[in-house]
C-alpha cells in the first residue's frame, strides 16, 4: 500500500507508519467493542430473564422444569415438562425427517444433477428459506394439515398403528405431526445449502482419484465426500436443530396447544417457543408472566446446550480429520 502511495504523498511518509498504527488501534477498538456488546447483550438478556422469572422461580423452584401443568385459572400450577417434551420431540423428529432429504438434495446438486439444472434448483431450494415462517404456518393450517390428516395419518395409523407413536389421528388438522413436517420443511433449506457448500469444497482431485480407481459414484461419495465433510455436516444438522428448537410462530399455528405428555404424534401439544408465543401477549397474572419468562429461560439454556454440544461434536469429528 505504501509503495503505491509513496509517489503521490512523499511529504507524509514519515507519518504514514504511525497513521496505520492508529488505524489498527481504532479497528481493534471498534471490533472489540462490537464483540463485547454481543457478550453484554447476552448477559443482559439472561439477567432480565432471571429477574422476570422470579415470581415463578420463588413459587415453583427447580421442580417447574419437569412438572406437567399449565392452569392459569383454577389450581394456578405451572410447569415446563410437557413443553420441553414437545420441543424435544418435534425438533428431533423434524431433523430426522429433513436430514436425509437435505443431504440428498445437496448430493444431487453437487454430484449428479445435469449442469443446466443445478442453478435453478439451487435457487428454488434457497427460496424456501426466504418464505416467512408465518406464511408456512398459514399454509400448514390450510393445506398441509388437512392433507396429512386425510391421506398420511390414516395410512400410518393403519400400517404402523401398533407403535404408540402412530395412534388415532386428531379430527382437527393440528398436531405434533403437522408441526414436525412444517419444521422439517423450514430447516430443509439451511441444512441442504450448507451441505451443498461443503460438498463443493471437497477437492476435485480426491473425487476424481477415487473414480479413477474404479469406484462407483456412491462408493466415491461414501468414501471421499462424506468423510471429508463430516464435521461440517454435523454442524449443518445442529444448525437445523437450533432453528427447529427456536421456531415459534409457525409451530403455534399448527401444533394445536395443550398440556400433556403422550407418545401419539397425532395428538396436539405445545413446544417451549410456541407456548411463549401463544401466551405471553395476553398473560395477565404475575405468576403466569413469570412462568412464561421461566420457559424462555429454559429455552435459552436448552439452545445454549444444543450449541455447545454442537461445537463439541464438530471439534471431535474434525479432529479425527478427513479419511
Amino acid at each position: 500500500m505504501s509503495a503505491v502511495e509513496a509517489p503521490f504523498e512523499p511529504a507524509r511518509r514519515p507519518l504514514s507508519g504511525r497513521r496505520v498504527r492508529v488505524g489498527d488501534r481504532a479497528l481493534e477498538l471498534v471490533t472489540a467493542s462490537a464483540a463485547t456488546a454481543a457478550l453484554v447483550l447476552v448477559a443482559l438478556i439472561a439477567w432480565k430473564l432471571v429477574a422476570g422469572a422470579l415470581p415463578s422461580l420463588d413459587r415453583f423452584g427447580i421442580g417447574f422444569i419437569w412438572r406437567v401443568a399449565w392452569d392459569p385459572t383454577v389450581s394456578k400450577l405451572y410447569g415446563a415438562g410437557s413443553f420441553l417434551f414437545g420441543t424435544a420431540v418435534t425438533s428431533l423428529a423434524a431433523l430426522a425427517l429433513a436430514a436425509p432429504l437435505a443431504l440428498g438434495i445437496a448430493l444431487y446438486l453437487t454430484e449428479l444433477a445435469p449442469p443446466f439444472l443445478r442453478g435453478p434448483v439451487t435457487a428454488l431450494v434457497e427460496t424456501l428459506a426466504a418464505v416467512p415462517s408465518v406464511v408456512i404456518g398459514l399454509w400448514g393450517i390450510l393445506v398441509l394439515g388437512p392433507a396429512l390428516r386425510d391421506h398420511v395419518e390414516p395410512v400410518l395409523h393403519r400400517t404402523l398403528g401398533f407403535l404408540p407413536l402412530f395412534g388415532a389421528p386428531n379430527a382437527a388438522s393440528s398436531s405434533f405431526f403437522t408441526a414436525i413436517v412444517v419444521l422439517a420443511i423450514m430447516i430443509l433449506p439451511i441444512v441442504s445449502s450448507v451441505s451443498r457448500e461443503l460438498f463443493l469444497s471437497v477437492p476435485r482431485e480426491l473425487k476424481e482419484g477415487a473414480l479413477a480407481l474404479g469406484t462407483t459414484r456412491w462408493e466415491m461419495i461414501r468414501g471421499v465426500v462424506f468423510p471429508y465433510a463430516r464435521g461440517g455436516i454435523a454442524a449443518a444438522l445442529i444448525l437445523g436443530l437450533g432453528r427447529a428448537v427456536g421456531e415459534a410462530i409457525a409451530v403455534t399455528q399448527v401444533i394445536g396447544g395443550g398440556v400433556a405428555v403422550h407418545a401419539n404424534l397425532f395428538a396436539t401439544g405445545d413446544t417451549l417457543a410456541s407456548k411463549i408465543a401463544a401466551s405471553y401477549q395476553g398473560a395477565t397474572s404475575d405468576l403466569e408472566i413469570g412462568s412464561l419468562v421461566y420457559l424462555a429461560l429454559i429455552l435459552m439454556a436448552f439452545s445454549l446446550l444444543v450449541n455447545l454440544s454442537a461445537q463439541l461434536i464438530v471439534r471431535r469429528i474434525s479432529r479425527r480429520g478427513p479419511a
Binding site: 392452569d71 385459572t73 399455528q253 394445536g256 396436539t268 395476553g282
Partner: protein, 344 residues
C-alpha cells in the same frame, strides 16, 4: 382476518409512532396520551386518534400489545392508560397502586361450527355447550343437541372442539359464560383469558380458530363477533334465560348490556347470561376496560380524553361491532373519570 388486520394496524401504529416521534419531540409533551394493552379494542382506539387530535389537539398513541402487557405497562406507569379485556384481579389492583378500571367498550363472542348440509343459526344453550366443551357430549346426533333443534337432521358425526391457544379476551368472555351456566365448568376449569382445556385443539388468534373450524368437519369453536360476520361463518343462536334464541348482533349485545346489573365496586361488570327479563339479550356479551391511575400529572388531559371516549367516541363503535355502552354504565364510568386528579 380481523386479528391479522389488528396486527397490521399495530404495525402501522408503531411505524407511525416512529415517524412522528421526531415531530412530537418538538411539540408540548403534555398533549401526548399514550396507552397500551388489548388488541381486541385496538381498532376502536385507532378510530379515535384523528377526531381526538382535531377536538383537543391530543396525540393519542396506542400499542396493541395484549391485555397482560397493558396491565404491566400501567402498573409501571410507562404509559398513561392500559386496556384489558379481563377485569383486574385483586392482586393486580394492589400492584397497580391507586388504579381504577372503567368499562369503555362492549362486544360479544359467537360460537361457530362446521357441519356440511346443515344451515347456519342452529340452536344452542349454555348447559349443552358446556357439556360439549367438557367432552361429555361427543356426537352431533346427541339427543341433547337434537332436542334443541327439532326438525333439523343432524349427522352422526364426532364433534371436534377448537379453542384459542393464545391468551385472549374472547376466551375470557366465553369461559365466563360457561362458568356462569355450569357449576362443573366453574369448579374444574374456571374463567380466564386461558384455561386448562379438558379437550380439543387450539388455534392461534380468531383467524387460527376459524381456519381450524373451517377445514375440520364437525368442528365447533368460538371467535369474536365482528370476525364471524365479516367471514360468513356458520354460528349458533344462543338460548338466553327468557328462552329466546338470539344472534350476536348489536341489538342482542345492547339488550345484554342494558340489564340492570350494576358494576361491582371495582367497576368490573359481567353481563354473560343476563336475567330473564332481557328477552333480546345475547348471553355471551362482554365489556372491555381501560385502566388509569387516579393520581397522575396528566389528570386534566386524561379526564378530557376518557370523557370523550365513553361519549362521542362510542359512535365509532358499531361499524366495528362494538355496541355503545349503555347509560347506567356510562354514569359509573363518568363518576370514576371524575376521580382522576393531579398529583400533589
Amino acid at each position: 382476518m380481523r386479528k391479522m388486520g389488528i396486527v397490521a394496524l399495530a404495525a402501522l401504529a408503531v411505524a407511525a409512532l416512529a415517524g412522528t416521534a421526531a415531530a412530537l419531540a418538538s411539540k408540548q409533551d403534555s398533549t401526548t396520551i399514550s396507552g397500551a394493552g388489548s388488541t381486541f379494542v385496538a381498532p376502536l382506539v385507532a378510530q379515535w386518534t384523528q377526531p381526538l387530535s382535531q377536538a383537543y389537539g391530543f396525540e393519542l398513541q396506542y400499542s396493541g400489545i395484549g391485555s397482560g402487557g397493558g396491565i404491566a405497562a400501567i402498573t409501571s406507569r410507562t404509559v398513561d392508560f392500559g386496556a384489558s379485556d379481563a377485569p383486574l384481579s385483586p392482586d393486580q389492583f394492589a400492584a397497580c397502586k391507586d388504579c381504577a378500571q372503567i368499562p369503555w367498550a362492549l362486544s360479544a363472542t359467537s360460537v361457530i361450527y362446521n357441519l356440511d348440509g346443515v344451515k347456519s343459526l342452529l340452536h344452542m344453550n349454555g348447559s349443552v355447550l358446556a357439556r360439549i366443551f367438557m367432552g361429555s357430549i361427543t356426537k352431533w346426533s346427541d339427543p341433547a343437541i337434537r332436542k334443541l333443534n327439532p326438525g333439523v337432521v343432524l349427522p352422526d358425526e364426532a364433534i371436534s372442539i377448537v379453542h384459542r391457544s393464545d391468551n385472549s379476551g374472547t376466551t375470557y368472555n366465553f369461559t365466563d359464560y360457561l362458568a356462569s351456566v355450569s357449576t362443573q365448568w366453574k369448579s374444574k376449569y374456571g374463567t380466564g383469558v386461558a384455561v386448562d382445556w379438558p379437550t380439543g385443539s387450539g388455534g392461534r388468534g380468531s383467524s387460527g380458530v376459524a381456519a381450524l373450524v373451517a377445514q375440520t368437519p364437525g368442528a365447533i369453536g368460538y371467535v369474536d363477533v365482528a370476525y364471524t360476520l365479516q367471514n360468513h361463518l356458520k354460528y349458533f343462536t344462543m338460548r338466553n334465560r327468557s328462552g329466546r334464541y338470539t344472534t350476536p348482533g348489536l341489538k342482542g349485545i345492547l339488550a345484554a348490556a342494558s340489564s340492570d346489573q350494576k358494576p361491582a365496586k371495582d367497576n368490573s361488570l359481567s353481563i354473560v347470561d343476563p336475567p330473564k327479563k332481557y328477552a333480546a339479550a345475547y348471553p355471551i356479551s362482554t365489556f372491555t376496560y381501560v385502566i388509569v391511575p387516579l393520581e397522575t400529572s396528566k389528570a386534566a388531559e386524561l379526564r378530557k380524553f376518557l370523557f370523550w371516549a365513553v361519549t362521542k367516541g362510542q359512535a365509532y363503535g358499531p361499524r366495528l361491532l362494538f355496541q355503545p355502552i349503555p347509560k347506567p354504565v356510562l354514569v359509573v364510568a363518568e363518576q370514576t373519570i371524575k376521580r382522576i386528579h393531579p398529583s400533589a
